[in-house]
């Protein structure tokens, strides 16, 4: 089985389980809502992909010229363009592109060895997942805990410190924070590697099963590789996670403060429920409802952050792939990456909505 298929299973199975659960337990309204959302997602992705298709072709430059460089003679360029089908009428190219999309084939790269995009993504997509999953977990844990703690210490020192943290971290460019991390922990102290996913020599020992290196190393018991992978993960994950945590601190703090003023908190206090339980039990659970919505909205920002983080840390994921292929005008690669990103954003925000409806008993679609 190819790594990409495994990844698809890893994402798909929980998604299907979640949907199945909702379809069995949820109301008719919720089922209808989800079907509508799925039905709306497809045209949205289609429109986006179409847009990217044409924008890429309007941009000056073309894949063959940029691959051959100044050496390429006009005859050679024309010959390769012909082979790649780039000289076909736009409408034919577009039809071919749509055909590829529908079969989830994505076609071949226009540069280098003209490898299938699916193969190229099966190496890079897991790399991005391996970065964004721990980064999101870090951002959520830090943001939710920090925001709640700040809210419980409202107008005291801890609150002000957390508020300063959230504003500063929110306004920092990822590039800058990444460079500082590299300088301090990579170069000054020499504690952590500053680029790549794994030590190149240890990397040759890894078995490519899911291409999530941490998972592969773990299931094959390759502890040396696991150690190296985790070391390489720290700086990019922390950079991305910290940047994303700022907005979660702010949102959680505001919502917990607001919830703490609700009547039912006063009523629970009047029943002798301890302050700690009021904050971390009652208030936080209610405050999470709007924060969950925010998570859905942050997925796109997370992916944009991943593009930057991957660039700074030479992380061979989808983001860096996208940047490289935009500059070499690899139309098929760019279209495919963007389509995958769009599908991902749509899928996750749908999942978030479903979770939302499960957390909040009042939601009825």
């Amino acid at each position: 089985m190819t790594p990409i298929a495994l990844i698809a299973i890893m994402i798909g199975v929980p998604a299907v389980l979640l949907l199945a659960y909702v379809f069995i337990r949820g109301s008719a309204g919720l089922r209808h809502y989800i079907l509508t959302r799925i039905a709306l997602t497809l045209p949205m992705v289609f429109i986006l992909a179409t847009l990217v298709f044409f924008v890429m072709r309007i941009l000056p430059g073309d894949p063959v010229r940029s691959a051959l460089g100044p050496k390429g003679s006009p005859e050679l360029i024309q010959q390769i363009r012909e082979q790649l089908g780039l000289n076909d009428p736009m409408i034919v190219q577009y039809a071919r592109f749509l055909g590829d999309m529908v079969t989830l084939d994505f076609g071949n790269s226009l540069i280098g060895g003209h490898r299938p995009i699916v193969d190229e993504m099966s190496e890079r997509f897991p790399a991005t997942l391996e970065l964004v999953i721990p980064a999101s977990i870090l951002a959520l844990l830090l943001g939710i805990w920090g925001g709640t703690f700040a809210a419980s210490r409202r107008k005291r020192t801890a609150d002000y410190l957390w508020r300063i943290y959230s504003v500063v971290i929110y306004s920092l460019p990822i590039f800058w924070l990444g460079l500082i991390m590299q300088l301090v922990f990579g170069i000054q102290f020499g504690w952590l590697p500053i680029s790549g996913r794994i030590d190149p020599i240890i990397g040759t020992t890894i078995e490519h099963i899911t291409n999530l290196y941490a998972v592969d190393a773990l299931i094959t018991g390759n502890w040396a590789a696991l150690g190296s992978v985790l070391q390489h993960l720290i700086l990019p994950t922390v950079t991305l996670g910290l940047i994303l945590s700022g907005v979660f601190v702010r949102m959680t703090r505001i919502n917990v403060i607001e919830t703490l003023q609700a009547d039912y908190i006063a009523a629970a206090r009047a029943r002798g429920i301890r302050e700690r339980v009021l904050v971390y039990g009652h208030a936080l659970k209610n405050a999470m409802i709007p924060v969950i919505t925010l998570i859905g909205l942050q997925v796109a920002i997370l992916l944009a952050g991943a593009v930057l983080t991957e660039t700074v840390f030479s992380w061979p994921g989808m983001g860096r792939y996208l940047v490289e292929r935009i500059s070499s005008r690899d139309y098929t690669a760019v279209q495919s990456v963007i389509t995958v990103f769009a599908l991902l954003v749509a899928l996750i925000s749908l999942a978030v909505d479903v979770i939302y409806s499960l957390v909040d008993p009042r939601v009825r679609y």
Partner: protein, 332 residues
């Protein structure tokens, strides 16, 4: 403290610190709540009823603080307890029912969890099953079917929720329940049923209830005694029949006259002159003097004592006190 007094409030003052200055929402108030009675606490909006009710459980946070006084509950002064000890009293010995049952229950918590959480907070040794059994028994006694415990608050009607609030206040067999306008948001039929329930509980459990309301009719219906507040002060306290038949304080007289269909049979509805004072700058002397039809010169300078007029019937009015008796009335 006499044995028949459950809660004795002595010289309680509660202040709100605001931008404009300090608001004394409860000013040197003393009040006794007797065991097993329903005491109605009435007064116009903003006179400090809720502030007083919350202070009885030391529930104030934020800008509010208890500036002085003693809170003798069942033999001990709650003011002497630490912040850490207060939660043991709240919910277990004194229960509270709030005005709006729609917002007083946690929207993401099942009704059952409200109850078991409250029970297990105070009695951690109780098993989940036992807490559940106790909750079921309790709510059935209050007229809620036990299956409904699995519902969320939004699935219940206002009247049902207010019963849930009562069951929460009683979950630990509290001796005193403070109910702050518990029926304001209910329609009249549901309100009548709820008041009947309160009376039943009073009889059945020997429950003591402080019923805060601005509805004189409700007090007439269920209360044994009534306390009338005006502008952060206690104006009059006494047996409900006595006070309604023979109100001493001119404010109480006005209040009763302005209620339709109560024992005083007035041809047309009376409307009291003026409005309650701003508590940032209360008038000197008696607080009611700018609105009082019987105002005397001394009322503008001297504050009346809160003293017995006849027997257990107290009023803070100079008409019945030595300083006032010497004075001639200005009008009237």
């Amino acid at each position: 403290m006499p044995a028949d007094i459950l809660y004795s409030v002595r010289n309680l003052t509660v202040e709100y610190k605001t931008r404009a200055g300090v608001v004394r929402a409860v000013d040197n108030v003393s009040l006794d709540i007797r065991r097993g009675e329903i005491l109605g606490l009435v007064g116009e909006s903003g006179c400090g009823k809720s502030t007083l009710g919350k202070a009885l459980m030391r529930l104030h946070t934020g800008p509010a603080s208890i500036a002085g006084g003693e809170l003798w509950f069942d033999g001990r002064d709650l003011m002497k307890l630490s912040e850490r000890e207060m939660p043991d009293v709240r919910g277990a010995e004194i229960g509270m029912v709030f005005q709006d049952p729609m917002t007083s229950l946690n929207p993401v918590q099942r009704i059952l969890d409200h109850l078991t959480e409250t029970i297990q907070t105070h009695e951690p040794e109780i098993s989940d099953a036992a807490a559940r059994a106790r909750s079921e028994e309790l709510v059935e006694r209050l007229g809620i079917r036990r299956e409904r415990l699995n519902e969320y608050p939004h699935q219940m009607s206002g009247g049902m929720r207010q019963r849930v609030m009562i069951s929460l206040a009683l979950a630990l067999r509290a001796k005193l329940v403070i109910a702050d306008e518990p029926t304001t948001s209910l329609d009249v039929i549901v309100e009548a049923k709820f008041l009947d329930l309160l009376k039943e509980l009073q009889k059945e459990f020997g429950l003591t209830i402080l019923l805060i309301t601005h509805n004189i009719g409700v007090v007439a219906e269920v209360a044994d005694r009534v306390a009338v507040m005006y502008a952060a002060k206690m104006a009059e306290v006494g047996d409900v029949n006595e006070v309604f038949a023979d109100p001493k304080h001119p404010y109480t007289q006005g209040l009763l006259k302005s209620v339709p269909n109560i024992r005083l049979e007035e041809a047309e509805l009376y409307k009291m002159e003026g409005a309650p004072p701003n508590l940032l700058h209360p008038p000197a002397g008696c607080r009611f003097n700018p609105r009082c039809p019987f105002v005397m010169e001394v009322c503008r300078t001297q504050e009346p004592a809160f003293a017995p007029v006849v027997g257990d019937h107290y009023a803070s009015c100079l008409l019945y006190q030595e300083a006032g008796m010497k004075q001639e009335r200005l009008h009237g």
